[in-house]
C-alpha cells in the first residue's frame, strides 16, 4: 500500500464517522431532560403558549421525522436557525469559530514553545536540579484548574499590571492576538506540562537507544545528533499528543472563553446546551468533529513525514 492510498483510506473513514456523530448528537441532545421551548419561555409561561411555540418550531413532529429533516438539511448544506437567537446557525458559528480556532492554534504554539526546549533541558539533565525544577513547575501548571489560572493571570497581568486587556477579542488581527494571548497561555500551561513530560521521556529513550550510540560512535557532534536523530524520533510522540489533544483543548476553551470573554464556539456550545438549542448543538458538534478530524489527519501526515514506517 502506498502513502496516497493510505491517505485516501483515512479520508474515507471520516465520512461514516460524521454520519454517526450526526445521528448520535441528534439523539443525545433529545435525551437531555427538558426542551428548548420551556428553557426559553422559562417557569411562568402557560401551557398554551408553550404548545404554540413548540408547533411553530416544528418540535411537535416525531423524532424520526425531525432526524430526517436534520440529516437532509446537512446534506443540502442547511443547518437551520438557532432556536434561542433566531438567526441562521451557519452565521452564528461563522461569527464565533475564528476566535476558537485562533485560540487553539495559539495555545498549541505557546505549549510547544514552552515544552520542547524545556523537555530537552530536563532530559539532558535528567534527575538533576534543572530537571526537577522544570518538572515541579509544570506539575503545578497541570494540577491547577484552568479557570483559576485564568483568573490569576487576568488579575495580575491584565487588571493590575495592565500588560494585557482584561478579556475580550478586540478588532483586527493584531488586537485579536493580543487579546487571545492570556487565554491561550492559560490553556497552554496544562497542555505544555503533558507535552513536556512525554517529550522528556521520549528524549531519554532516544538518547539511550542503540542507533544514537551508533551515531555518537561515528563521531557526530552533539547538536547535529540532537537535531537530526533525537528530536525527529522524539517528536513523533509529541505530534500524536498534539493531534489527540486538539479535542481537549477545545474542551478547555469552553472554560477559558467564559473567563476571558472570548466570543468563541466553546461558550456558544455551553450556552446552547443550557438553552437546549438543538440546531446549534448539532451543527456545532459536526463542525468541531470536522475540526478534530482535520487535526488528526494533519497529525497522520506529519507523522508520515517524521516516521518513514507510517503508511507503509
Amino acid at each position: 500500500m502506498n502513502r496516497g492510498t493510505w491517505l485516501l483510506g483515512r479520508l474515507a473513514q471520516i465520512v461514516p464517522s460524521f454520519l454517526f456523530i450526526g445521528v448520535a448528537v441528534f439523539v443525545l441532545a433529545r435525551l437531555l431532560p427538558g426542551d428548548p421551548v420551556s428553557a426559553m419561555l422559562g417557569d411562568h409561561a402557560t401551557d398554551a403558549t408553550l404548545a404554540r411555540l413548540t408547533a411553530q418550531l416544528g418540535l411537535d413532529r416525531s423524532i424520526p421525522v425531525q432526524l430526517m429533516q436534520f440529516l437532509g438539511g446537512v446534506l443540502r448544506g442547511e443547518l437551520g436557525d438557532s432556536i434561542a437567537y433566531r438567526i441562521p446557525v451557519a452565521r452564528l458559528i461563522a461569527e464565533r469559530l475564528p476566535a476558537t480556532v485562533l485560540l487553539t492554534l495559539l495555545s498549541v504554539a505557546i505549549a510547544l514553545a514552552l515544552a520542547v526546549p524545556l523537555a530537552f533541558v530536563a532530559a539532558l539533565n535528567a534527575n538533576r536540579w534543572p530537571d526537577l525544577l522544570i518538572r515541579f513547575v509544570f506539575q503545578i501548571g497541570l494540577s491547577t484548574p484552568i479557570f483559576y489560572v485564568g483568573l490569576l493571570l487576568l488579575t495580575v497581568l491584565a487588571a493590575w499590571a495592565h500588560l494585557f486587556p482584561v478579556g475580550g477579542y478586540g478588532d483586527g488581527w493584531r488586537a485579536h492576538l493580543w487579546h487571545l494571548f492570556l487565554p491561550a497561555l492559560t490553556l497552554a500551561l496544562s497542555f505544555a506540562a503533558v507535552l513536556m513530560r512525554s517529550l522528556r521521556g521520549a528524549v531519554l529513550d532516544v538518547i539511550n537507544a542503540e542507533f544514537v550510540d551508533f551515531a555518537r560512535s561515528k563521531g557526530l557532534r552533539a547538536r547535529v545528533l540532537l537535531g537530526r536523530h533525537v528530536l525527529r524520533s522524539a517528536m513523533i510522540a509529541t505530534v500524536t499528543l498534539v493531534g489527540l489533544h486538539v479535542g481537549s483543548l477545545l474542551g478547555g476553551a469552553v472554560i477559558t472563553e467564559s473567563v476571558f470573554a472570548v466570543p468563541g464556539v466553546g461558550r456558544l456550545m455551553v450556552e446552547s446546551i443550557f438553552a437546549r438549542d438543538y440546531p446549534v448543538i448539532q451543527a456545532l458538534t459536526l463542525v468541531l468533529a470536522v475540526f478534530v478530524s482535520l487535526a488528526l489527519l494533519a497529525t497522520d501526515i506529519v507523522q508520515m513525514w517524521l516516521d518513514p514506517r507510517v503508511g507503509r
Binding site: 437531555l32 431532560p33 427538558g34 426542551d35 428548548p36 420551556s38 428553557a39 426559553m40 419561555l41 422559562g42 417557569d43 411562568h44 409561561a45 402557560t46 401551557d47 403558549t49 404554540r52 411553530q56 436557525d81 438557532s82 434561542a84 437567537y85 433566531r86 438567526i87 452564528l92 461569527e95 464565533r96 483568573l151 487576568l154 488579575t155 491584565a158 487588571a159 495592565h162 486587556p165 482584561v166 478579556g167 475580550g168 477579542y169 467564559s258 473567563v259 476571558f260 470573554a261 466570543p263 461558550r267 456558544l268 450556552e271 443550557f274 438553552a275 437546549r276
Partner: protein, 536 residues
C-alpha cells in the same frame, strides 16, 4: 440611600418631561456637574438579548433593554407605582370605564426619520393583543378594538372596565413599531417578518441598533430624531453611542470595570458590593426592584412518587416559614442588602399590602408542627439551578434552621431546563425561585402566584377558590379603592396559606466608573440609558 444611590439625573428628566417630581436623592459631597454630550459608553451585560421584538420576546434579557429602542404610549414612573406620559401626552377614561381616549405626542419620528402615525399605534396595539402572538397577550386581553379618531387621537375600547390598562400601555409589549416598515420586511408571516425586523429594529426610542454579534456585542447609536428633551432644552440622549458587551463571568466583568475597559456593569454579586463601594474609581448603585426571592412549595396531597406530601398541610408550611430567620438569610446571602418580604409582592408593586409575615419563632414552628401528623419531622427535597451561589447560600442556611424541627432538607442541583421541566410537571417538593414584575400593576404577579387557573399558582397546585374569585372580580373592578381592598385580601389569604416560603426582596446591583453618570434602572428592571453620560 446609604448604598450610594444617585438619582438626580432621572429626576431632572422627569421634571423636564412634565411629570410629577420624584424625590431628588443625592449623596453628600457628590458634585453635580452638567451632563456632557457625546461619547460612547460601554456597558457589560451578563447575557445577550435574544429577540428584540416587543411582542414576541420571552425574556428579561430582551425586556430590560428594549426600552432604549422602542417607546410605549405611557411610561412607568421612577418608583414603579404609576404611569407618566410617553408617546401619548394625555389620556382620559370614559365614565363606564370601557373606553380610553389617548392624545398622541406631536412630531414623533422613528429612528429612520419617518413620522409616527395613529395608524402605527393602532397596528402595534392590535399586534400586541393578537392571541396568536407570544406570551404577553394576557396583559392586554381586555382590549377589544383600537379606533383611530384623528391624526393624533386614538381610542382603546375595552371588553370590561380594566384599571390595569394604563400600566399595560406602559409595558414593553405595547411598544409602538413602524407599521409600513415592518410590513415591508422580508418574510411570509408575522413571525418571519419579526425575525428579520428584530435584526435591526427601528423604533422611536433614544437609541438604534447598528451592529449585533450575538452573544458578543450589541452596538447602539443615538437616534437623531428622538423626541424627549433634556432639561437644557436640547434633545436626548446625551451619548452618541452605547455598546453592550456580553461578559458572562461575574469576576471578569468586574475586572474589566476596574481596569476601565467598561463604564458600567450589571448583576454585581452581593459578595463584591462592599469592595466596589470602597473603590475610589467606582460607584455602586443599588436600584429598588420588584425582585422577590422565595422557595416554591408543591402543596398537592401526594407527590409524583405517590408518597404523602407533608407540604400539603398548611400548618407544616407555616411551621417551615416560622422556622426561617429571614434576617439571617439576608445577612448571609445578600450581605445585608436585602429586606424581608412583607407580602408575596415586592414593596415596589402597586397595592402591595405590607405585613409582618412569619417573624422567626422556633417555638411557634415546633408547636405548629406538633399539631400535624408530621410532628416527628420529615425529609424534603429542594431543587435549585446547579452552581447558583445565592441558592446555595439560601438553602444551606435554611437547612440548619429547619434541623431543630426534625425537618431534613435535601438539596438537589439541576441544570435549568431539567428543573423547569420537572417544575412544570409538578414533579417536585420545593424549588428556589425569584420573580420580577413586568408591569406596574399587581395583576401579573397575582395571576402567576395566586390565581390557580393561569399556571396552577406557580405550579404548586394551590387552588384557593376565594382568591381565584377575588382576582377575577379585581380584574374588572372600576373603583380603585375596592380593587385595592381586593388585593389586600388576596395578599392576606396568601400569607396565611403560605404556598411559598417567604424570603427576601433585593435591589438591582449595578456598578459604574465614577465618571459614568445618569443610568437608571426602574423597579421593573428596565435599563434606561437616555439620560446616561460620561462626565469629563
Amino acid at each position: 440611600m446609604s448604598n450610594g444611590l444617585v438619582l438626580t439625573r432621572r429626576a431632572g428628566l422627569a421634571l423636564a418631561a412634565g411629570f410629577a417630581a420624584v424625590p431628588v436623592l443625592t449623596l453628600p459631597g457628590v458634585a453635580q456637574a452638567a451632563p456632557v454630550r457625546g461619547g460612547k459608553m460601554v456597558y457589560g451585560r451578563y447575557a445577550d438579548s435574544l429577540f428584540l421584538d416587543p411582542v414576541l420576546n420571552d425574556a428579561n434579557v430582551d425586556i430590560w433593554v428594549m426600552n432604549n429602542l422602542y417607546d410605549t404610549l405611557l411610561t412607568p414612573m421612577q418608583d414603579g407605582l404609576g404611569v407618566a406620559p410617553g408617546l401619548a401626552t394625555k389620556w382620559s377614561m370614559s365614565a363606564d370605564g370601557k373606553s380610553l381616549a389617548l392624545t398622541l405626542r406631536e412630531g414623533v419620528k422613528f429612528a429612520n426619520g419617518t413620522q409616527m402615525t395613529a395608524e402605527d399605534v393602532k397596528w402595534s396595539l392590535d399586534r400586541a393583543r393578537n392571541p396568536k402572538n407570544g406570551a404577553w397577550v394576557d396583559l392586554v386581553a381586555s382590549i377589544t378594538d383600537v379606533v383611530i379618531d384623528g391624526p393624533l387621537a386614538v381610542t382603546v375600547k375595552l371588553k370590561h372596565p380594566d384599571l390595569s390598562i394604563l400600566a399595560a400601555l406602559a409595558t414593553f409589549n405595547t411598544a409602538i413599531m413602524p407599521k409600513a416598515l415592518f410590513e415591508a420586511t422580508q418574510g411570509a408571516t408575522d413571525a418571519e417578518k419579526a425575525k428579520a425586523f428584530a435584526e435591526k429594529p427601528i423604533g422611536t426610542g433614544p437609541f438604534m441598533l447598528v451592529e449585533w454579534q450575538r452573544g458578543v456585542i450589541m452596538k447602539l447609536v443615538r437616534n437623531p430624531y428622538y423626541w424627549k428633551m433634556a432639561p437644557d432644552g436640547k434633545p436626548l440622549p446625551y451619548l452618541d453611542a452605547l455598546d453592550f458587551q456580553i461578559i458572562p463571568d461575574d469576576s471578569t466583568r468586574l475586572l474589566k470595570l476596574k481596569a476601565g475597559e467598561l463604564h458600567g456593569t450589571e448583576f454585581v454579586p452581593y459578595s463584591r458590593v462592599k469592595e466596589i463601594q470602597a473603590d475610589a474609581n467606582l460607584r455602586m448603585e443599588l436600584w429598588p426592584s420588584t425582585k422577590v426571592t422565595y422557595l416554591t412549595m408543591n402543596v398537592r396531597p401526594k407527590l409524583g412518587d405517590g408518597s404523602v406530601n407533608p407540604l400539603s398541610d398548611v400548618k407544616v408550611r407555616q411551621a417551615l416559614n416560622y422556622a426561617v430567620n429571614k434576617d439571617a438569610v439576608i445577612a448571609i446571602t445578600t450581605q445585608g442588602l436585602g429586606t424581608p418580604m412583607t407580602s408575596f409582592m415586592s414593596k415596589s408593586t402597586p397595592m402591595q399590602h405590607a405585613q409582618t409575615l412569619y417573624k422567626a419563632d422556633v417555638a411557634k414552628a415546633k408547636a405548629l408542627l406538633a399539631e400535624t401528623p408530621f410532628k416527628a419531622g420529615f425529609e424534603v427535597t429542594c431543587m435549585m439551578v446547579a452552581g447558583n451561589v445565592d441558592s446555595t447560600n439560601n438553602l444551606t442556611t435554611i437547612q440548619q434552621m429547619w434541623a431543630p424541627l426534625g425537618v431534613k432538607l435535601k438539596i438537589e442541583q439541576l441544570d435549568n431546563p431539567t428543573l423547569t421541566k420537572r417544575y412544570r410537571a409538578g414533579d417536585f417538593s420545593m424549588r428556589t425561585a425569584s420573580w420580577t414584575d413586568d408591569i406596574a400593576d399587581p395583576n401579573q404577579i397575582t395571576s402567576y402566584f395566586a390565581y390557580f387557573p393561569n399556571i396552577g399558582s406557580l405550579h404548586s397546585g394551590w387552588d384557593n377558590k376565594k382568591v381565584n374569585a377575588l382576582f377575577e372580580t379585581s380584574q374588572e373592578e372600576v373603583d380603585p379603592a375596592k380593587r385595592k381592598a381586593q388585593y389586600r385580601e388576596i395578599q392576606e389569604v396568601y400569607t396565611e396559606e403560605a404556598p411559598i416560603l417567604f424570603l427576601y426582596e433585593s435591589p438591582y446591583p449595578v456598578a459604574f466608573r465614577k465618571n459614568a453618570m445618569g443610568f437608571v434602572q426602574i423597579p421593573l428592571g428596565n435599563n434606561l440609558f437616555e439620560g446616561a453620560y460620561l462626565a469629563a
